[in-house]
């Protein structure tokens, strides 16, 4: 289903891919030849069927410009995107969970209200706006962090420095979602009978908060992140473009500009598979954290 929609959308992009690929000085014969090679001369449904059956076997075709297998090209870029998203999740979890828990514990205080407003604010701001402002403030103006690229390959510290801003742009909106989610579920858990039992046993308040309540309150966060991965992937596209980082998002973006259709379909398809896999992974993580779910496996 997803593949069908993807195929349709790409087909509807105006412009002849062969013409764009070959440039204005190409002859009619050259364009014809490329059409045949790309399969664009055949009927639409045949194109789709070919694409579909090939994709099942892991063959995403060859890209137009360098004639390399699409899968190889996409896989080459995938680690950059994965690291970016992992960084985004890192930011959102590292800030969102403590802020949400804190807001729940300081219920009714100004701190809770500020966290509440800030959460909504960061959710409402689109990630590319965050990306651009982060770039301007921290990289251009303050010069604390590098502006563009992914850093020297092999130089871990350099790569990490290059990761901070783009991953913040990807993750900041999720800080808001997670803070709100953790706050709500924390408030709910703190009302539960077992927390009252724990208090009645005189357990220290710290143990109750962190071991008895928070471990339950963060469970919905994992599911939320699993579902939110799609949203993060789209933020990653913007972050990669703004920060000129290598990655699948940047790859697909460039491929669209050059009408490099096999690369576009391949890139999007790999991301879709990634989305499904990450969701599955999120379910497994919930299972490992929640014995009630675990026993159902």
């Amino acid at each position: 289903m997803a593949m069908f929609m993807l195929f349709c959308m790409i087909y509807l992009i105006p412009g002849d891919p062969a013409a764009v690929a070959l440039g204005p000085r190409a002859t009619e014969a050259m364009r014809e030849a490329l059409h045949i090679k790309m399969g664009l001369d055949r009927p639409v449904w045949v194109q789709f069927l070919n694409f579909f059956t090939d994709a099942w076997t892991g063959d995403l075709g060859r890209e137009v410009l360098s004639d390399r297998p699409v899968l190889d090209v996409v896989m080459e870029q995938l680690p950059h995107t994965l690291i970016l998203i992992a960084g985004g999740i890192g930011w959102s979890v590292a800030l969102g969970i403590p802020l949400g828990a804190w807001a729940a514990l300081k219920r009714g205080s100004p701190a809770e209200r500020i966290i509440g407003i800030a959460s909504v604010a960061v959710i409402a701001i689109p990630s590319f706006v965050i990306a651009i402002y982060a770039l301007l403030v921290f990289a251009v103006h303050l010069r604390w962090l590098p502006a563009i690229g992914a850093g020297e390959p092999g130089d871990f510290k350099d790569q990490a420095m290059h990761l901070i801003l783009p991953s913040l742009a990807v993750g900041l909106g999720w800080v808001g979602y997670i803070a709100r989610m953790v706050r709500a579920s924390m408030l709910e858990v703190l009302e539960a009978t077992h927390i009252r039992t724990a208090r009645a046993f005189g357990l220290p308040e710290r143990m109750i908060t962190y071991r008895y309540a928070l471990t339950i309150a963060i469970l919905p966060t994992v599911t939320l992140l699993g579902v939110g991965i799609g949203h993060m992937l789209s933020s990653a596209v913007f972050a990669e473009i703004v920060f000129a980082r290598p990655g699948v998002g940047k790859l697909v973006y460039d491929a669209i500009l050059t009408r490099n259709y096999p690369l576009v379909t391949g890139g999007v398809l790999v991301t879709t598979v990634l989305f499904v896999l990450i969701n599955l992974f999120a379910d497994l993580v919930v299972g490992s954290l929640d014995p009630r779910v675990r026993s159902r496996f």
């Binding site: 539960a192 009978t193 077992h194 009252r196 039992t197 724990a198 208090r199 009645a200 046993f201 005189g202 357990l203 220290p204 143990m207 071991r211 008895y212 471990t215 339950i216 954290l289 929640d290 014995p291 009630r292 026993s295």
Partner: protein, 334 residues
């Protein structure tokens, strides 16, 4: 002030109020009761009469909108209403342990039973192995099969009755002086209820603790308790030994409650008698007798707060009609 040393817990003139959106709710008014050492005291009363509020007040675990507004809760001579939160926490779990109403939700769902039992012993200097051994011993005492294995399991893997027994095991592990049980059997079916009551009785005798047992099931109270406290709309209307209260009820509410108990009904009628009228709104408490609006026998004198009259040795009723046993029915006394 000299204190009666026989009592483990003495409550006098306890008032609890809750701040609510629609005004202040006077949940407990002038509540008083005594729990002797190694005695089992039951509290009966309809839903909403303040039984849970009372135990939360004892434990220092009232909801944030609640406060104690006068009165004393003397535990081993110490007034718990004046204790700071730290000392109160030090008391909970060690000297006063609690089993709550809802066995399904009383245990933490994501922490193993063994871990939870170990956490309860966090104040002890024993090593983890020794703590676990104590947990196993306690689980065996409440007849959990395969107690060693049970440590590694999670609450949802046990049945309701087993969960309740585990909760009892946890509560009694530190051998508290007072066990508070808030309707521990309400969620269980009848057979399990009997088994749990027997178990509680055994354990109480073994440990030698006092028990404050809350139930709205009169049969269970009669079976288990030495003494009964009858509560109505946040007040103690009658208290005394189980036989005193059940055989010679002096407050009209107690009398009606006993009539309403299905278990006590002879086959005279198919209809269950209910007490006409409703519990008064605790936000606008009538100044006089709290039961007046539902009482068949109410007079103008009931507009004033009734005194607590000692009708027999240790048997009190808060009703102007209450008479000392000798005046009331000479014939019943030997």
């Amino acid at each position: 002030m000299s204190l009666p040393t026989v009592n483990l817990l003495t409550i006098r003139d306890l008032n609890v109020r809750f701040a609510t959106e629609r005004g202040e709710l006077h949940a407990l008014r002038d509540v008083g009761l005594d729990i002797g050492k190694e005695r089992i005291v039951g509290i009966v009363g309809e839903s909403g009469c303040g039984k849970s509020t009372l135990i939360n007040a004892i434990l220092g675990l009232l909801a944030n909108n609640g406060r104690i507004d006068g009165g004393r809760i003397l535990f081993n001579g110490r007034d718990l209403t004046r204790l700071d939160p730290k000392s109160m926490q030090a008391l909970r779990g060690i000297e006063i342990a609690t089993v709550f109403q809802d066995p399904m939700g009383a245990l933490n769902p994501v922490i193993s039973v063994g871990r939870q039992m170990r956490n309860i012993q966090y104040r002890s200097s024993l090593r983890n192995k020794e703590k676990d051994a104590r947990s196993v011993a306690m689980l065996q005492r409440v007849r959990i099969p395969d107690a060693k294995q049970a440590l590694h399991r999670f609450p949802h893997e046990f049945s309701g009755g087993m969960k309740q027994r585990i909760a009892i095991a946890m509560a009694l592990m530190m051998e508290p002086a007072l066990l508070i049980a808030d309707e521990p059997t309400t969620a269980l079916d009848a057979t399990l209820e009997v088994a749990t009551i027997d178990l509680l009785k055994d354990l109480q005798a073994g440990i030698g603790c006092s028990v404050l047992f809350i139930s709205h099931h009169l049969g269970v109270i009669a079976e288990l308790c030495d003494e009964v406290v009858v509560m109505y709309a946040g007040e103690v209307v009658e208290r005394g030994s189980t036989s005193q209260v059940f055989n010679h009820p002096n407050h009209p509410y107690t009398a009606r409650l006993l009539e309403c108990d299905p278990a006590r009904q002879a086959k005279r009628t198919r209809l269950l008698p209910t007490i006409p009228g409703e519990i008064p709104d605790l936000r606008h408490r009538p100044p006089g007798c709290i039961f007046a609006s539902r009482c068949a026998d109410h007079r103008s004198a009931c507009q004033a707060p009734p005194p607590e009259i000692e009708v027999d040795n240790g048997h009190f009723a808060r009703c102007i009609h209450a008479r000392h046993h000798d005046e009331n029915s000479r014939s019943r006394r030997p």
